[in-house]
């Protein structure tokens, strides 16, 4: 089977700094307090993902999901182990990255798409679809600084879901945008899954994970605690009894907010 992602004994260490200014640091040192402390946000995690698989990455807040996604995305380098990927990576992780408030929606679409790895030609070919998906109408040629936060997010999403990629990463982002838009995003993700691309989906929402994913990986304090079929993974987390349908999942997402 063709591998899409190989995560091989990956660890990522973070340093927590308690004091920032020189004054605070010297006082802390005089008192014998810790100035910094390090911990493993991702701790010796290994797994492989086949081409076309869809994985739900679950776990409590702070368990290291976003960090693992950043390592897979290549933004962060692992401190130990290695990650290998095949093909282009995109996803709902860098939505709106590089958006400049003073530039128009149109200019920002091109820049954001380029940052997500698209060429000028590809962006041109998808431009109309992107604009239609974002549904921003005649605001397209006004500065994005004047957009409502919903419009801003929609435009970022629209670019992201239209990027060509072999691996699509999603990090609990469905908390922004209104209901019809969330529906549209879920539809789009299903489309992506159906097209045989690898999907890596971080979510607290058992309902949508069950719908979207074949396999669930659970992180607990940075360590892989579970790796197996989606149903069992959700049971493992005891998320099962609470929510089941898309609407409660959306409430859940709203409650938990988004840290993207």
């Amino acid at each position: 089977m063709t591998k899409s992602i190989v995560v091989d004994h990956v660890s990522k260490r973070f340093t927590m700094r308690y004091h920032r200014t020189i004054k605070q640091m010297s006082i802390a040192r005089l008192r014998g307090q810790e100035i910094s402390d390090s911990f493993l946000a991702v701790d010796d995690v290994s797994f492989t993902v086949d081409q076309g698989e869809s994985i739900g990455l679950m776990g409590l807040n702070g368990s290291g999901k976003s960090t693992l996604l950043k390592v897979i995305n290549g933004v962060m380098a692992p401190d130990a182990g290695q990650v290998l990927t095949r093909g282009r990576i995109a996803g709902l992780i860098a939505t709106g990255a590089g958006f400049h408030p003073q530039l128009t929606g149109r200019d920002n679409v091109y820049l954001n798409a380029a940052i997500l790895g698209m060429t000028e030609k590809e962006t041109k070919a998808r431009f109309d679809d992107i604009v239609e998906f974002a549904d921003i109408g005649r605001f397209l040629d006004t500065p994005v600084g004047h957009y409502s936060s919903g419009m801003f997010a929609r435009l970022g999403f629209a670019v992201a879901v239209h990027t060509d990629s072999d691996i699509f990463l999603v990090d609990e982002v469905l908390a922004v945008g209104d209901k019809p838009f969330k529906k549209k995003c879920m539809e789009k993700m299903k489309e992506i899954k159906a097209s045989g691309r690898t999907l890596f989906y971080v979510s607290h929402a058992a309902g949508s994970v069950r719908k979207m994913c074949d396999r669930v990986i659970v992180l607990e304090k940075g360590r892989k605690a579970f790796d197996g079929p989606a149903d069992e993974g959700i049971k493992f987390l005891h998320y099962d009894d609470t929510e089941d349908d898309v609407s409660s999942e959306e409430e859940q997402d709203e409650e938990l907010g988004s840290d993207v």
């Binding site: 591998k3 340093t15 290994s46 290549g74 933004v75």
Partner: protein, 302 residues
């Protein structure tokens, strides 16, 4: 290496790994030029964002250097009187100012560039050298109007451009560009770890105007410092670059360019220039190595 197929522990037969790679870009200045399209858009973004919503727009690129020039000309020339004995002191000064401005803009904007683009750096894998390089290119774009003014004025007063002068101009420009980029790389990375660095840069750039023969003639330094100390003064790559720039523009407008080049410029101007450029290239390499080391920690420190 191993041959077991175990999905949970990532031991994969080597055949399956064919064509896979680490997701992070190689990085480095070389990789920046492989991502030219993003670079182009980033530069364009900065340029068009700068004058968005202003009525005069690009005209400001002319107004600002002109006012700065008039102010300097008035204070240095008329009030302090450093222009005595310098033919076309205005051109002597302005030629230097254009390139010193290019340097300080590259340095200050470059130093802030990683922080300013933290939303991209935190989320997307791309060569981060992109941002200081974009700052350098944006600064270069903004000196074009000033160069237009400079060349126009030179033409009006009767400029006799020569090959050696042209070469001097290019060499001076190269020194400023390479030095500015190196410092931008170094300080943009350092600025992620302590914001103090952007303040340090502000302080440093204040000295630049005084450390180069721009608002005073080189001959003044030569006569006051004596031979040994002049070499120290000329060890400053920016002083050398400004002299090369003046060799290009100012020398050509004086009444006897040959004589000016002989008496008003240091000896071995070109040899010194080439050595300086080589030193700046080595410095660029060092800056790149430091940047690569520090870059690993960018996403978590922003």
């Amino acid at each position: 290496m191993t041959t077991t197929v175990d999905r949970e522990h990532a031991e994969v037969p080597e055949d399956d790994l064919a064509g896979m790679r680490a997701p992070a870009p190689q990085g480095g200045l070389v990789d920046v030029f492989r991502h030219r399209y993003i670079l182009k858009l980033l530069v364009r973004r900065e340029i068009s964002a700068r004058y968005q919503g202003s009525v005069l727009g690009l005209l400001w690129s002319y107004v600002q250097p002109l006012t700065r020039f008039v102010m300097y000309y008035f204070v240095i020339g008329m009030v302090i009187g450093l222009d005595r004995g310098v033919e076309y002191f205005g051109i002597h000064m302005f030629a230097g100012m254009v390139f010193v401005h290019y340097f300080t803009e590259t340095f200050t904007a470059g130093t802030r560039s990683i922080m300013r683009n933290s939303s991209i750096v935190k989320k997307m894998a791309m060569p981060r050298e992109m941002f200081p390089v974009a700052s350098m290119l944006v600064s270069a774009y903004h000196i074009i109007p000033q160069l237009v003014i400079l060349i126009t004025v030179c033409m009006i007063v009767g400029w006799a451009p020569d090959m050696a002068g042209m070469f001097a101009g290019l060499l001076g420009f190269a020194i400023v560009a390479v030095l500015g980029t190196s410092l931008a790389l170094l300080f943009s990375a350092a600025n992620v770890f302590a914001r103090d660095f952007s303040n340090i840069v502000q302080t440093l750039t204040n000295f630049v105007h005084l450390a180069v023969p721009m608002i005073y003639p080189y001959t003044l330094v030569a006569s006051r410092f004596g031979a040994d100390h002049v070499n120290l003064y000329l060890a400053n790559p920016l002083a050398e670059a400004v002299l090369l720039i003046q060799r290009c523009f100012w020398v050509g407008v004086t009444s006897d360019p040959e004589q000016t080049a002989l008496t008003q410029m240091p000896d071995n101007l070109f040899t010194r220039g080439l050595i300086q450029l080589a030193c700046c290239l080595v410095f660029l390499l060092i800056a790149q190595l430091v940047f690569t080391r520090l870059e690993r920690k960018f996403p978590e420190r922003l």
